[in-house]
């Protein structure tokens, strides 16, 4: 069963169909005005008519979403559906990440936040929709995209030093069968210096504190000198100093025109740290500038509101032989 079968109203609206590619001036305008999942119009008046209201049935973009192929958007996610063992985890998610923005991904546990990043990076199979990086697929843009996985995703007893780990950020540039050279190690050392760990370069990674381990991961992404950073909970269980260091690095990246999409758990700091927020609970609840998308109402929908019908459908998809109750 494809993802589009689940939604009857997936036809593009006439309004969407009329949209043309945005001009250069409109692009930044769009990025900052596009709020909440329902508004895919570039007309800012539409926000006044639907201020942050949620229309879940209308939450997917038209097939003529102009940003999907726009080379200026670091990341465009279109109608993305991802399933684990046939049970959908993400439903019809649409996003456009503009250049020079910091975006938080928030939502309850198991809402599909990490899944969103992994699916965008091709680490998980996609059941429907597509993902574009600068208007094209990841293969040709690999070196421009840095991924910071969750700290628990690797084995910290592995026999590598902090410098070895940071050097791994450069492997994409070094290429198959080519050795790691001194200039690569120097770049890695510089990245370690930027996160304040220059003195820890030759430590085996188990001998670092949790915050230091997280900073090593960050240094690895920095070494890559990417333009888009996808980070999975970099703030999880870090000390105050590390948190500050990460925030200032993120701001530094933004100042250099780079974007970051960060899975984040601490709701209190979202307005302070980020420009944009993605509110996710299996489907996209809201997306846009923090002041528009990160509202009490949207948060309540994200963390409290349950769409029982969708959950039932997901359960029945998981038990594969049964037909979907929607059909």
């Amino acid at each position: 069963m494809s993802s589009t079968d689940l939604h009857e109203s997936s036809k593009p609206s006439p309004q969407d169909a009329q949209q043309t590619r945005p001009s250069k001036d409109q692009l930044t305008h769009q990025a900052h005005t596009q709020a909440t999942s329902n508004s895919h119009s570039h007309n800012s008046h539409s926000h006044n008519s639907h201020p942050n209201t949620i229309h879940p049935t209308n939450s997917h973009a038209s097939s003529h979403d102009p940003s999907s192929h726009d080379p200026r958007f670091p990341l465009a996610v279109h109608d993305l559906t991802v399933a684990y063992h046939r049970k959908p985890v993400l439903w019809n998610v649409d996003l456009d990440i503009a250049p020079a923005t910091l975006t938080a991904v928030v939502g309850p546990n198991g809402a599909g936040k990490s899944t969103l990043l992994k699916a965008a990076l091709g680490l998980l199979p996609i059941a429907g929709g597509f993902v574009r990086f600068w208007g094209t697929d990841l293969k040709s843009q690999r070196n421009r995209v840095a991924y910071v996985p969750q700290r628990e995703s690797v084995d910290w007893d592995f026999p590598v030093t902090a410098l070895d780990v940071v050097t791994m950020g450069l492997y994409g540039r070094i290429g198959w069968l080519m050795p790691v050279r001194k200039k690569h190690r120097d770049l890695a050392r510089h990245a370690l210096d930027r996160v304040g760990l220059a003195d820890f370069a030759s430590r085996q990674i188990r001998q670092l504190s949790g915050g230091q381990q997280q900073r090593v991961f960050l240094a690895r992404a920095l070494a890559q000198e990417a333009d888009l950073y996808l980070m999975d909970e970099p703030f999880a269980a870090v000390d105050a100093a590390t948190e500050e260091a990460i925030v200032s690095l993120l701001r530094d990246l933004r100042a250099h025109g780079k974007s970051a999409v960060v899975v984040h758990h601490d709701l209190e700091t979202v307005p302070d740290y980020f420009d944009h927020a993605i509110l996710l609970n299996h489907r996209l609840i809201a997306y846009g500038p923090v002041d528009r998308a990160f509202t009490h109402e949207n948060l309540r929908t994200t963390y409290g509101g349950r769409l029982t019908l969708l959950e039932t459908a997901a359960e029945s998809l998981a038990s594969s032989s049964k037909p979907s109750p929607q059909r």
């Binding site: 063992h85 992994k118 990076l121 091709g122 680490l123 990841l138 293969k139 690999r142 995209v145 991924y147 996985p149 995703s153 690797v154 084995d155 592995f158 026999p159 590598v160 030093t161 070895d164 780990v165 791994m168 950020g169 492997y171 994409g172 070094i174 198959w176 069968l177 080519m178 050795p179 790691v180 085996q204 690895r220």
Partner: protein, 438 residues
């Protein structure tokens, strides 16, 4: 060590097999896939039988090929099962290799009854007779096993040198590897194929126990001694080679010295590698048991010393009479060995002095313990630390005042900057029990 053509060849074959296994083994152990080799060495059975049935002869290339295919199939099926169904890595390994092994047994019983599959051969191999099965290349007559294993070792070494970076990133962080365009799945299958080929090549001459031992044990021992993957692989290979030498020396020469018949070399080598691991476990400078024991002992002595000083200064503060050595001993909560080491160390640091005395009525020793200037300075620091902690715990951590003593008693031994502690506690002058803070 007895050396003649046969024993030299046996040694060469044993070392080649050991090192050839240690290379992929290092990566398997670091990936927490140690038992893949064990599974493969069992699961190759249907492949061996199928190769035998297809070619109609034993020890042919078809058997080798069949075994390698079965080995790779084990890894492939395990991985597929893990990905597509909700089965853990170890469970899917258990399912696949037992099924394949059972199929192999059925094939043997029903179609290849003539194969004399000696269980002890499978377990211990035939290293002792390996030099006799020779092959002639370039007018040189060399044992077939030596040739196969040498090729296998060279291929393994070349792979790990050329693809070191790729194997390292896909082992440590497969997701990052995939994002960077290094297929973690391709590397997984490369490693699995390496393991399967090596296992099959080493299997016949050294047997399955030694194969599994060489895949796992040298790498595990090297991990106790190395912090980087490159040196680890090198050291694991070295330890594997050492085990082969040690094993053969023990099996032949030591046994003869003891007047015993020689024992199986493969078994002896597997034992030797276990012995090497044990030494690494005990004596490793960073992770070894001795190191840990030493640090624990030092800590226990320091705590006992500090506790004794604390008792002495508190007695002085309340103008109690000086402690006798026995009374002080009784107040310090540690084993008698730790207590006497602590006491000696206090005297050696001239923090306390013992004033000999004898109780006249009982004629028993009643040595007095005198706090010296060095000791008093240290004791005041400790007392200050203890009371600051108590204040901190009541004011900041919101602990009830009567709950703080035990925690503070432990925390006072933690080396922490006194300035920081004082400012965190809010520069108090009296502790929660209204005792002055020095």
């Amino acid at each position: 060590m007895t050396l003649n053509t046969d024993t030299i060849w046996m040694l060469v074959i044993g070392m080649l097999a050991a090192v050839a296994c240690a290379i992929p083994g290092s990566l398997l152990v670091m990936r927490r896939l140690s038992l893949l080799g064990d599974a493969i060495s069992h699961a190759v059975l249907p492949g061996l039988v199928a190769g035998f049935l297809l070619s109609g002869s034993r020890s042919g290339e078809m058997m080798f090929l069949g075994a390698v295919v079965a080995g790779v199939l084990t890894a492939f099926l395990t991985e597929t099962l893990r990905r597509s169904a909700r089965v853990d890595e170890d469970a899917s390994l258990g399912i696949v290799f037992t099924s394949l092994f059972a199929i192999g047994l059925i094939l043997i019983v029903n179609f290849a009854d003539r194969v004399d599959l000696d269980p002890s051969c499978v377990l211990y191999g035939m290293l002792e007779t390996a030099p006799l099965r020779t092959i002639t290349i370039l007018d040189l007559e060399i044992p077939r096993a030596a040739l196969w294993l040498a090729i296998c070792l060279i291929v393994n070494a070349v792979i790990i040198i050329l693809l070191f970076k790729e194997l390292r990133i896909t082992s440590f962080d497969p997701q990052l590897a995939d994002v960077q365009g290094y297929s973690s799945r391709a590397m997984h299958y490369l490693l699995t194929t390496m393991t399967a080929v090596t296992t099959v090549a080493a299997f016949e001459s050294v047997g399955s126990i030694l194969v599994v031992a060489m895949l796992v044990v040298p790498a595990a021992a090297a991990h106790l001694l190395c912090d980087r993957l490159g040196p680890l692989v090198f050291l694991a290979s070295l330890l594997a080679a050492m085990s082969a030498i040690l094993g053969q020396w023990f099996a032949i020469d030591v046994m003869r010295l003891l007047g015993q018949p020689s024992v199986n070399i493969a078994g002896s080598t597997a034992t030797a590698t276990g012995f090497i691991f044990l030494i690494a476990l005990i004596a490793s400078p960073r992770h070894g048991l001795l190191t840990r024991l030493w640090y624990r002992l030092r800590l226990a002595v320091r705590i006992a010393r500090e506790d004794a000083l604390g008792e002495l200064i508190r007695a002085e503060e309340s103008h109690a009479p000086a402690f006798t050595r026995h009374a002080l001993f009784a107040r310090v909560d540690a084993s008698s060995l730790i207590r006497s080491i602590a006491m000696r160390s206090l005297i050696a640091r001239s923090e306390i002095q013992i004033q000999p005395a004898v109780e006249p009525s009982t004629n028993r020793s009643s040595d007095r313990v005198i706090l010296l200037e060095n000791g008093r300075r240290r004791a005041v620091e400790l007392l200050r630390s203890h009371r600051l902690w108590e204040t901190y715990l009541t004011d900041r951590a919101q602990l009830a005042a009567d709950h703080t003593h035990d925690s503070a008693h432990r925390l006072e031994h933690v080396h922490i900057d006194p300035q920081t502690l004082a400012s965190e506690a809010g520069h108090p002058t009296r502790d929660p029990h209204d005792k002055p803070i020095p």
